[in-house]
Amino acid sequence: MHTLTLAEMRSALESGDFSSVELCRHYIDRIKSQNEALNAFVSITEEQAMEAARVADQKRASGNLDGALHGLPIGHKDIFCTDGVRTTCGSRMLEEFVPPYNATVVEKLKAAGAICLGKTNMDEFAMGSSNENSYFGAVRNPWDNDRVPGGSSGGSAAAVGGRLVPACTGTDTGGSIRQPAAFCGITGLKPTYGRVSRYGMIAFASSLDQGGPMAVTAEDCALLLNEMAGFDERDSTSIERDKDDYVSSLGNSIDGVKIGLPKQYFDAGLDSSIATALQVAIAELEKLGAKFVDIDLANQHLSVPAYYIVAPAECSSNLARFDGVRYGHRCDDPKDLEDLYKRSRAEGFGREVKRRILVGTYALSAGYYDAYYLKAQKIRSLISRDFSQAFESVDFILGPTTPSPAFKLGEKTGDPVEMYLNDIYTIPANLAGLPGISVPCGEAEGLPVGMQLVGNYFDEARLLNVAHQYQAVTDWHTRLPE
């Protein structure tokens, strides 16, 4: 059952090959047997899920379907608030936080009939590229348990990669969907900023954060995005525009599409095994009629420096609400207000989060604002402009998702900057707000390799189609660990 895609499961449920109860039971058993090794889930909502599955089967029997995802199991990254279900954001600060409200994404997927099996592990407050920053312990890569699954949506990526669940939600601030998708051999889409509502998604860096689907195939991502996307009156930055049908456009030919290859993405920093895999993928796409041209994204090398100012600055402000007063961790016996704040936050936040809050606070403080924050916002303009110019002549931009395959646990924890450089290919799309997808395109040292495609604003439908056409002629996405 767990080798099926979401789309295949949907057909099987329709034709009565198995029930939602059987399907959910199967996955929950897989979670129970394998989560100890992977640590992909921080909460398993078995009872609610099985009850929902029973209801879904009853409704199906009476011909009454909730929506396109009726009775299909999914997982939510633990950054999405779930009414009545603990939402930790990977932090001790929210270890016991049970929100009395749902994120819009959670509401929408529930309304479409999806069943949540649990909440997936993540780097604390989505800050990290290896999932080693979770208060609930590191997540393991299903392809090699000594390696990281990537981050920050590492729990979601490991869960889908190990087929503990067929699909998950994720969030991507600097690559947090695409990079773990690449490391775990799955497909992950970061939509255009504003395409998916951020309401109820715990904020890390508000101008960069975007929720998106993580699944086995591009088709499954399209199924999920169809339900997740859309304007939300509760999110001022969500876009009021008609949403496309991401599934119906999947059959289109990609003959003649123009794909740009930025020379900056294929330089010395790229692992040769990844470069080789990409060359093979490019050849496959050429066979499908894609035309490749070299392009120049001149300011790409400044995206990591700019990102590691903008994101910490926003996070330093976004995380000020965690003060031990209204919810979340509160230190014992505070001697005064300042002590309450300082100890609650020192105890509640992990080291990486604290480091970023400090950097961000510094970058916004009097005397440094212009040199750091404002400068980074200007660099952001330049990076965005590079993309706009490129999209005047190409439909998509192709490159690696990561500079190397999944690295070993502990390998990069010593030096934050080395860890940050892992996001070099994913960050530019966040700074510009563009959609990007990571698609499995090969193996290196027995580990999955991801290819990244970046599209123009709101071009998710075509982006998913290119990935889908590629997956129709390749099988990297179907490969399973061990």
Binding site: S207, L208, S236, P305, A320, V325, D336, F349, A363, V417
Partner: protein, 101 residues
């Protein structure tokens, strides 16, 4: 790298910033934070390679304007649900250590 980096941010800066951010930092980890922060700020200094004096800052990827909400009250009282998850409440108030004004 760490040794050079310490010149960017010293211990006293870490302490000031930690106070602004209301985070307690143990005295024995201050210098660690100083060198890590310095590393990040050195990375950020690469931005100085480009002259941006004529570039407009980009605060947001969305090139739209703020949507306005109608002035209607639709929220109901959910105090009980919100205060169920609060660390300390009494008579409907959130409690904090005494604040003297």
């Amino acid at each position: 790298m760490a040794d050079d980096a310490e010149s960017v941010v010293g211990n006293e800066v870490v302490e000031q910033v930690a106070h602004l951010a209301r985070i307690q930092i143990d005295s024995d980890s201050v210098s660690n934070y100083a060198s890590e922060m310095s590393g990040v700020l050195e990375l950020a200094a690469q931005m100085d390679q480009v002259d941006t004096s004529l570039v407009e800052p980009m605060a947001h990827p969305v090139r739209a304007v703020q949507r306005l909400r109608e002035d209607v009250v639709t929220e109901t009282d959910r105090r009980e649900a919100f205060q169920d998850i609060a660390p300390s409440v009494e008579n409907g108030y959130y409690l904090v250590p005494p604040v003297i004004e």
